[in-house]
Every structure is written in C-alpha cells, then in structure tokens.
C-alpha cells in the first residue's frame, strides 16, 4: 500500500504508535499535534488520507474536518473516544468519510485506511449511467448534461456501487462492505449519513430522491432511468 497519511492527534504516544503501524504498511506518515496547524500541514503535504482526532487543542477536530472538506475531497477518517449517536453523526456530517472508535485494533484501522486508499487501483475505463447522470469511473467524474458534479471520492464510490448493479437492492451492510471495506458488521449510520450527503449533491429534490432510492426495511437501490 502506498500513499501519504496526515495524522492529526495531540497524544504524542498514540501518534508515534500510529506512525509505526502505518509505516509498517508502507505508508508515508506526517504528524501534527494541534488543530490550528492541521490545515497548513494538509496544504504542505497533500496527503492521500487524513486521520483526525475529534478532541484537539486549538481548533477541534470537527472544525478541521470542515476546513479540509471545504477545499478537498480527500478521505478523512476520524478517531473518536465517543460512540454516542450524536457525536458520531456530527462527525460524519462535518464531512468525515469514516470513523474508528478508540480503542481500536491496528488491523481494524489498517482495513479502514486501506479501503479509503484502495480506490484508483483499478483504473479500467468504464462508463455508467444512473438516472440522468453519466459516470466516468476511470476519470472520476459525474456529469449531468454538460454540468460536472463535485463529489468526494467516498460519495463517488457509493454512487458507482449502486450504478453498477441497478437491478440490485443494496442493504446497508453490503454497502458498508463494498464501499467502506468493513469485513464485519459496521455502523449503518455511516451509510445513512453519506446517502443523505450524496443526495443533496445529485438529486433534483433531495426530499424526494429519484436517483438513490430508499427501499423501506431493506436498503437502497439505483432509481429507474
């Protein structure tokens, strides 16, 4: 696995340990210890993934997440000590793609990181349509007519997963496995939050979605073209 990872965490022991584990996986790791210097380090190193602690001195993790998301679709994985619904949902809504709850196993973290970095490994030319949208998988672009829609890589993966099998209803668990790379049961709220974010970007009316349709009691599927 190759790539650059920016670790934003104020706990130096944990940050160093994260560095050891990630370098063992062949990744290049940079570290900052507080929120205020995070955005500068992000611009300097242009990482392929950001590991972000929620509780930070200076600017807190959620705000850092919003700032990074404002200028980049780079995958962001949050590190959190809290699993309460509100904390997780707020974290996801501020733009994080995924989260890992402390204490986590290194394999678990690496699986999350790998799932987010994996993309781009299979650049086979493929063109898909979903609703009135055209997807260029290799070129990572989604267009409606001449208009190019700006999606984060995660939202792009989510849309591609649905578009590849328009006849299939995806349960949240299946999406967690295919898009997020969870091998065991994960938090289905991840799917809910990101489907909402995706809809707000691609649907004509996010209140009445036509491209990503909810199948009550089961999951989601691509809408009829």
């Amino acid at each position: 696995m190759k790539g650059r990872v920016l670790v934003v965490d104020d706990d130096l022991a944990l940050a160093e340990m994260l560095g050891i584990v990630l370098r063992n996986e062949g990744l290049e790791v940079h570290h900052v210890a507080d929120g205020s210097s995070a955005i500068g380090a992000f611009r300097e190193h242009r990482p392929d993934l950001v590991l972000l602690d929620v509780m930070l001195p200076g600017i807190d993790g959620l705000e850092v997440c919003r700032q990074i998301r404002a200028e980049s679709g780079v995958p962001i994985v949050m590190l959190t000590a809290r699993t309460d619904t509100v904390d997780v949902v707020v974290g996801l809504e501020s733009g994080a793609d995924d989260y890992v709850v402390k204490p986590f196993k290194p394999q678990e973290l690496i699986a999350r990181v790998r799932a987010r970095l994996r993309r781009g490994d299979e650049p086979e030319p493929e063109r898909l349509t979903i609703g009135d949208l055209a997807i260029d998988v290799a070129g990572h672009s989604v267009t409606r007519g001449d208009e190019r829609l700006s999606l984060t890589p995660l939202e792009f993966d989510l849309l591609v997963a649905l578009a590849r099998k328009p006849w299939q209803v995806f349960t949240r668990e299946v999406l967690l496995e295919q898009v997020w790379g969870y091998r065991h049961a994960g938090d289905t709220r991840l799917v809910n939050v990101h489907v909402q974010r995706l809809r707000s970007k691609i649907e004509h009316d996010p209140e009445r979605p036509e491209i990503v349709v909810t199948v009550r009691g089961v999951g989601y599927k691509a809408g009829q073209a």
């Binding site: 022991a13 340990m17 584990v21 402390k102 986590f104 049961a185 709220r189 009691g217």
Partner: protein, 496 residues
C-alpha cells in the same frame, strides 16, 4: 360575620323587649294614677254639685267632661267615655258622654264586667284602638263615679300608646343602625385579623408548594417577633437545609457520572496506544524467546478482556446517566438472529454445541433499535453456548398480535431456584467457586436487560437444575407500546 349578626340581633331583641315592657309599665302607672286623680276630681265636683234635674245634671256632666276630664289639644293624650253603669237603677238617665273620637265600643265587655263587679276599684286592660285610621295599643282604665241623684256611672279612660309606639320605632331604628354598624365593625375586625394571621399562613402554604415544585430559592418574608415571624424563620431554615442537601446530592450524582464518563474516555487513548504496541509485539512474537512470546500472547488476550470490560462499563454508565437513546426502525428479527448465529458459530464449534434456529416463515417485524437488539441476542446466544455444556441450543421466534419474542434455550447446568432473578445482576456469577473458564465481563446480561427496558420490552430468565435454562426476550411490535403478554412461554411447562 353571620355569628356577629346573630349576637347583635339577639342582644338588640332582649334590650328592645325590656325597654318596651318598661315603657308600657310606666305608661300604665302614669295612666292609673292620672285616672285615679281625675276620677277623684270628678267625684268631688259631682259631690259639690247641686243639680237635681236631668237637664242640669246633663249640663253638669258635660261641664265636668269638658273642663276636668277632656285632655287639651287636638291630639289628646287620653280619651274619656262616661256611661251609665250596668247596675244603675235610678230614674234619671243621663246621656252617655265622650271626650273625643273614641266611644264605648272600644271598651271590651270583660272590662265593663270587671268594673261592674267591683265598682270601688280601678280596672286596667291593654287593648287596641283605632285613632285617626291608625291601630294603636292602648291602656284602658275603668272606674266608677257616683252622680248625685243619678246613681253610679262608669268612667273609662283610654290612653293610646301613640307616643310610646313612636318612641319604640325610634329605638328600633337606632338598634337597627347600631346593629348594622356593629356587624360591619365585627366584619372589619375579622378581616383585619385574617390579614394578620391567616394571610401569612396561606403564604407559607404557597411557598411550600413552590418549594415542592422544585423552586428551591423560594423563601417566606419574616418580619417582627411574633409567632408568625417565628414560623417564617423556622420555615426558611428548613428550606435552606433542604436546598443545600439537594444541591449536594445533585452535585455528587453529576460529579460521579462525569467521573465515570471521563475516566472511561481518558482511558481510551492510552489503551489504544497499548493495543497497537501489543499487536506489533504479538505479531513478531515468533522471533522471541518462548517465554517472552507467551507473555506477548497473554498480554494480548488480557488486553482484549480489559477492552471489553471498559466498553461494557461505559455502556452501563451511559444507561445509568440516562444518556442511552433508541435508534428505531422496522426490523425483521430473523436477520439479526441469523447474523448472530453465524458470528457465534466458531464458539459453538469449539464447545461442541449445535445451535438450531426455529424460525417462522413470515417476517418477525418490530420497531426496534437493531444494534441493541442484536447485542441482546448475541449475549443470549453466547451465554447459552457457554453454559450449554456442549448440548444443543435451540432458538425459537414467536410472533404475537402486538409483540414478538425470542427464546434462547440451552440444556446445560441450568439454574438453581432463585437464581433466575440474579442473572441480571451486575458481575453476578452462577457459581463463584467455578473457575472463570468462560469469558464475558459479568455485565452482558445487565446491559441486555437495560437494552430490553429501553424498548419497553421484557428480558426474563427461567432455569432448572440439570434441565437447562431459557431466556426470553419480548419486544412490542410498535415502538413505545406497552406489553401485555408474550407469544412464547418462558418455561417449557407453561402455555404461552
């Protein structure tokens, strides 16, 4: 007020009676002495008279009547009637005379008879007469004069009590006004007393109500040095003491909850570092000395237990703090059950237990928090496998009209009498002497029970020594509904 009015009326009545009777007696006395004097005067005049003829006697009688007996003024104080006595058998008959508008018809026959019976004595009677169209009480006095040559004649003096009636009217009016004034005064005094005494008591009651409604800053105003001020002071002292105790308890509880939560969270970051370090060491243990390698394995294993315990403690503290929230959606209970059975298959294989699912064909749907329900089911299944001693584990699903139920049944050691109630107690172990070969934190069933309660559901245990134990989870199909029964029996001998 009413009582005051009654007292005043009664008092007024008695006084009125006394005054009235006094006045009346006085009038009778006056009338009697006046009549006596007048009768004597008339008798003396008659005795001095020399008239012998009827005409002369009539004239004399008229003269006596006019000069002596008739009272002066247009509204005379007395009326006099002279008439021939009943027993007079003289040949000379004089005309009956009267001084005013009243005649013999006003005099009752009883009085006339009494006068006739004892001519030498004065007779008195109370009666009613009509003067100027007005009914008035009157004193009538009868006496007899001896008219020379013409025999005895009755003299009746009629004294109407007009003056006295007027006086009594005046007194009545005075009494009424005085009574009314007095009553009002009593009312006013009562009102003032109420203001002084009852109002503070009422205020105390209001303050007490506000205090019990949670407004702990409420106090009574305390002024002066009377009993009420003392009451207010004691009341406020009580409120102060209550307030400080409640504040203290609230503070303690909040501090404790914060502490548990903070400790759990603060532990997580170093624990994560340890976790990763241990895993790195554990992964490279093949190159170590055997004892160091074994130590690394033990370290990794115990760290797992430590993490589980911390996670469960945190979950319990969340329930205790009331911070647990339901994330409800419609779930077919068969799917979490299938996942749980799949996930616990390695454990079941190790223990040699066969887990059999008895699922209905139709979906067992209920509005629940899937994550929590799956956690309950996983707990029950893992428990059944661990205490099942390698014997089969059966899982039944029942669907009722308003509830769904899952029964997890093992055929292991079972439970002793009374233990079924204890299995949900935190850190409770069925047999303290038994080696802790089984994992678990001792909090699993406690958390499951809290999860079930959060759904307004039931989690119950049944067990018999040597037969096995059954755990039944019953959940309402609609979130927040109240359960009335379960579609599955708790014990195998019982009808659902």
């Amino acid at each position: 007020m009413l009582l005051g009015l009654l007292v005043v009326s009664a008092l007024g009545g008695v006084l009125y009676q006394q005054i009235a009777s006094g006045l009346e007696r006085d009038k009778i006395d006056t009338a009697q002495s006046e009549a006596l004097a007048l009768t004597a005067q008339a008798q003396a005049t008659w005795d001095a008279s020399t008239a012998t003829s009827v005409d002369a006697l009539d004239l004399a009688a008229f003269d006596i009547m006019r000069r002596i007996l008739t009272a002066p003024g247009s509204n005379p104080s007395r009326y006099v009637v002279m008439s021939r006595s009943a027993g007079n058998d003289s040949d000379i008959v004089l005309a009956s005379l009267r001084s005013g508008s009243l005649d013999l018809s006003e005099v009752s026959p009883e009085l006339q008879a009494a006068v006739a019976a004892s001519p030498g004595r004065q007779q008195t009677q109370m009666s009613e007469v009509t003067v100027g169209g007005e009914n008035l009480p009157a004193v009538i006095i009868g006496s007899v004069v001896l008219v020379p040559n013409a025999g005895p004649y009755d003299l009746y003096f009629i004294y109407p009590l007009g003056q006295e009636v007027a006086t009594m009217d005046l007194i009545t009016n005075s009494f009424a006004i005085a009574g009314l004034t007095l009553t009002l005064l009593v009312g006013a005094v009562a009102w003032v007393v109420t203001r002084q005494v009852v109002a503070p008591v009422r205020r105390a009651s209001e303050v007490a109500q506000r205090l019990s409604a949670g407004k702990l800053n409420e106090r009574m105003p305390s002024r002066g040095e009377d009993d009420l001020a003392l009451l207010a002071t004691s009341f406020n002292a009580m409120a102060d003491s209550l307030q400080s105790q409640i504040r203290q308890l609230e503070g303690l509880s909040a501090v404790q909850q914060r502490f548990v939560s903070d400790v759990s969270h603060e532990l997580r970051t170093p624990l994560t570092t340890i976790r990763m370090a241990v895993d790195v060491i554990h992964d490279s243990r093949t190159g170590f000395d055997p004892s160091v390698a074994r130590s690394a394995e033990l370290l990794a294993g115990e760290l797992d237990r430590f993490e589980e315990l911390l996670a469960d403690l945190l979950e319990i503290s969340r329930f205790d703090a009331g911070a647990a929230a339901l994330d409800v959606e419609t779930v077919d209970l068969r799917s979490p059950l299938l996942r749980v059975v799949e996930a616990t298959r390695p454990l079941a294989d190790r223990r040699g237990s066969v887990v059999t699912l008895h699922l209905p064909d139709e979906p067992a749907e209920a509005e629940v928090d899937e994550r929590r329900v799956e956690r309950i089911l996983r707990n029950l299944v893992v428990n059944a496998i661990e205490h099942g001693e390698g014997r089969p584990v059966d899982i039944h699903v029942g669907i009722g009209s308003d509830a769904v139920a899952v029964v997890v049944e093992d055929h292991g050691v079972g439970l002793r009498p009374g233990e079924a109630a204890n299995v949900f107690t935190r850190f409770w172990r069925a047999d303290p002497a038994r080696a802790r070969t089984t994992g678990g934190t001792g909090l699993g069933l406690s958390i499951s029970l809290e999860d079930a309660r959060l759904h307004h559901g039931w989690l119950q245990a049944w067990g018999e020594r040597g037969v096995g134990s059954r755990f039944r989870l019953t959940l309402p199909q609609r979130a927040g509904a109240t359960l009335h029964g379960s579609p599955l029996p708790l014990s195998p001998n019982e009808e659902p």
